[in-house]
Subunit: 396 residues, 2 copies
């Protein structure tokens, strides 16, 4: 139950809304958001503002008067740019009819869920997990069923039998986030095939969250994707976002890739939630796709260096346990002897000025861990590593 | 059932999503959106782009790098500007804690509904109505119960006994849009008191959509409002939008005014739907509130002239029936002998190049009517009036 519910007596709110949990990431962020000298590694965003080659076309379109209602599916040039992007990076044949533009990756998830699952339905997801997926389903009256990934310092692993055992007659979808926020786990091509096989046999949708595909530290230029193995008739909704690749967290623009037959349904869901995405912002998003490959590559390379800096610093303490992430831009680590991650995250902010997201924010499966975002300035990461080393040594 | 559902066999969509009706406004708009020489009076927006005193601060903030995640409730300076706006125009004491910024007025409605009603719940609304309110509730699994306004050429009227008779034990809220889109009906202060009395006695929320308050053609400077009569403990959620007053339809920014105790719940609903509104857009919204009173007054004065132009033209035909709107910026009129408004709206586009929204888009209660937006260039309205006069005369 929401801790604020006490003040809500007499207001007769809908139970699922009243009881929606506050984000634990937001809780610690609010605790110290404006502290001087803070190194904020808690939130899932980089430290660079949107580059001007993206923001300028949007600003020009805004000043130029592209301020009217627009296509519910998104403007055609943006959807054509999405198709080019997927052909370039994923080698698939695709066209503008495969995409619908959404008001953030979060809204992409909300709309995908609205399309396939509602009150009384279940969806299975892998935990620890970014908390907004289960929360969005539960606000809609559905039930989010976690399947725990197994932790070892050699890597997180998914037990496929456990995944299938979580499927019930009420299950409508498997929500698969790979590479994973917060763990850095990524499904191999073989694992993706096994998941797809379960979905086919059990008549389930897959909601695929592959937004970190290009933040990839393994073989090849990106993480394995359901796009590598799916057939046209498979029921997969790909939810995605401009936020991470192109430093556009504050823009709130994303997209869904879906079977074209679903577009009229998804357009209605857009119409009855936010009624479209600002056209002038879509001009910037198009510039990101068409001109942003070098920008993304530089940031992925920097993140790989950041990953080395923070893992080296934490390994040297002898008391931090983690699996080296395969993708995304988070280090998810435990500290020996620490069990209450929310209290510790606040203490770490107070004593070191380093902002970490507490593992409990990613579900009970994440308790005892901390999430550190390493998509940041490398000097700042080195400084954060030093401070965390001192903190861990002093708290022995 | 959605006419597109036939192509969806085998996709196992959620029923409420699959069956959501397409907007009838969008249908005729798509039918002829790019026709040359069209006078588009079908959509609920004016013909002016956002003025530069609003768009420039937003563009500057975008280029200046305000492109990170921001407050889920909205930035404090914008909420302070909202409080000043309501003090100035509605004479109430209020502060920034009374407001939450949303990704459009549509999202304000969606979130207000999520807070109070869901699967199996009912909400009562007045019809004919803008279709997105009932559709948003039904997509969420609720039931929207229309109460028909009575038409006469002296004005639309609300039968309060009929309103109360529509309330059942499952009713959670009354959705009251005044001044009304599409009818132009507005509740008097006495009617608002009677509605509030029903809500108090029957333990209901009121979701108040007063976005057209300042587009008002009666006594005083604005329409009567629940703000004039409510007590602090009343359960009223005011949904609102920057779209209409400040020519910002394409921005997708709105707000909810709600009891402050609800803010943590509403912030969670924002977090789990779109996770906030771009901070750079909020800078423009603040400029609209603080510097936009003259702009709004000029547009309201122009709309009043536009209203005279279109009513004079249609009255001269002797075959158009309508009540002069008290507020908003739509003329909702019937043509003697015309019963199928969708077919006729398409024929009118084809033969006259004037785009009207078909009354059926506003529910069966609107069949036989057409909605004409008169918040447009006056010369264009005069031309549209001439063309409609000729069409009506020729189709006698």
């Amino acid at each position: 139950m929401n801790e604020n519910a006490a003040g809500l007596d007499g207001f007769a709110l809908r139970r699922e809304a009243r009881d929606a949990p506050a984000s634990g990431i937001v809780e610690v962020f609010q605790y110290a958001r404006d502290r001087a000298g803070l190194i904020p590694l808690w939130v899932g965003e980089g430290d660079q503002p949107t580059p001007e080659f993206i923001s300028r076309p949007a600003a020009d379109a805004l000043i130029g008067g592209e301020t009217f209602y627009t296509w519910q599916q998104g403007i055609p040039p943006l959807r054509e740019a999405l198709a080019r992007y997927f052909t370039r990076h994923f080698g698939i044949e695709t066209g503008p009819h495969d995409y619908i533009v959404t008001g953030s990756g979060m809204q992409a998830i909300q709309l995908a869920l609205q399309a396939v699952a509602g009150a009384g339905d279940e969806c299975v997801y892998l935990a620890p997990a970014w908390p907004n997926f289960p929360a969005a389903l539960e606000v809609a009256g559905g039930k989010a069923v976690p399947v725990e990934l197994d932790f070892s310092e050699n890597g997180w692993t998914l037990d496929l039998e456990r995944l299938e055992a979580a499927v019930t007659p009420r299950t409508r979808a498997l929500f698969i986030n790979t590479p994973s926020n917060p763990t850095g786990w990524a499904a191999t091509r073989e694992t993706l095939s096994a998941i797809l096989d379960i979905a086919r046999r059990r008549d389930l949708w897959i909601v695929a969250d592959e937004i970190y595909s290009l933040f990839w530290y393994g073989e090849g230029s990106r993480a394995p994707s359901f796009l590598d193995i799916q057939s046209p008739q498979d029921r997969i909704l790909y939810v995605n976002s401009f936020s991470k690749n192109w430093a556009m967290t504050g823009w709130r623009v994303g997209w869904i890739k879906a079977p074209p037959a679903l577009m009229p349904v998804l357009e209605n869901l857009v119409q009855y939630s936010t009624s479209g995405v600002p056209q002038f912002l879509q001009r910037g998003a198009q510039a990101a796709l068409d001109g942003g490959d070098d920008f993304v590559a530089e940031h992925v390379a920097r993140a790989a260096e950041g990953l080395d800096i923070v893992t080296t610093a934490l390994r040297a303490t002898g008391r931090a346990r983690f699996a080296r992430p395969q993708g995304a831009f988070y280090l998810f680590f435990a500290i020996d002897g620490v069990t209450d991650s929310m209290a510790s995250a606040k203490r770490i902010v107070d004593e070191t000025g380093v902002g970490l997201a507490p593992g409990i924010a990613f579900g009970p499966e994440g308790e005892g861990f901390f999430r550190l975002c390493f998509n940041r300035d490398l000097g700042q990461l080195a400084e954060a590593g030093d401070r965390l080393q001192r903190y861990i040594a002093a708290s022995d």
